[in-house]
């Protein structure tokens, strides 16, 4: 069975500082991993994905994620946080049936 864990419910970071949102996964076979962002009362917006290839994946809005197979992690990162990055972030893994299973989410707050 597949699952993802987001160990931090809340992450606070000062504007301009680097940010990291953590995600670990458990999956049979090769992992297909995703990050989505959700703004209040909105659906999910795709940020980036890891299917295969380079361990460092670059995505939308300056975000990137590092795939680490030995640590079964897929942490989301950004070199310099913006106040507008404040939102709810979800890590997800695809199952054999091509569906997504999400973590519980991490609320990112960027402090001006």
């Amino acid at each position: 069975a597949q699952s993802v864990a987001q160990p931090e419910d809340q992450v606070n970071v000062a504007e301009g500082n680097p940010l990291t949102v953590k995600c670990t996964y458990s999956v049979s076979g090769n992992p297909y991993l995703f990050w989505y962002v959700q703004y209040p009362n909105r659906g999910l917006q795709f940020l980036l994905k890891y299917i295969t290839g380079d361990n460092l994946v670059k995505g939308s809005y300056g975000f990137e994620a590092e795939f680490n197979k030995s640590q079964t992690s897929f942490h989301l990162k950004k070199p310099s946080a913006l106040v507008s990055d404040s939102a709810l972030y979800f890590c997800a893994v695809r199952d054999m049936g091509n569906n997504l299973f999400f973590g519980t989410g991490t609320r990112l707050t960027v402090i001006p």
């Binding site: 297909y32 659906g43 795709f46 979800f90 091509n98 569906n99 997504l100 299973f101």
Partner: protein, 115 residues
């Protein structure tokens, strides 16, 4: 190019009633998945429709049913509503075989409140 469209955006129903939510997938997509997102939680997979058939189902009771039409649009029906069914219902579309490659496109959701 329209993304995923869901209607209505908000809905209030009484316990025991039935509700129908609608979803139009992104142009070029033929697969629709439905998710339930309770307040403060991550989205939970309900079921997926492809070629007008339910292909996969998550851990949801039979009160949750769906349909997909020839134009790939989809409906989610919930019978005998419970207070616990109050949630944001999200529709996601993808193209068969490429959903993993290009991600899934989500709609903005329908906020269902059961009173």
């Amino acid at each position: 190019d329209a993304g995923v469209t869901q209607s209505p955006t908000h809905l209030i129903k009484t316990r025991g009633q039935q509700v129908t939510l609608r979803c139009s997938p992104k142009s070029g997509h033929d697969t629709v998945s439905w998710y339930q997102q309770a307040l403060g939680q991550g989205p939970q997979f309900i079921f997926q429709y492809y070629e007008e058939e339910e292909r996969q189902r998550g851990n949801f009771p039979d009160r949750f049913s769906g349909h997909q039409f020839p134009n790939y649009s989809s409906e989610l029906n919930v019978n005998a509503l419970l207070l616990g069914d109050s949630a944001l219902y999200l529709c996601a579309s993808s193209s068969t075989g490429t959903g993993s490659l290009y991600g899934y496109t989500f709609g903005s959701g329908t906020r269902l409140t059961v009173v």
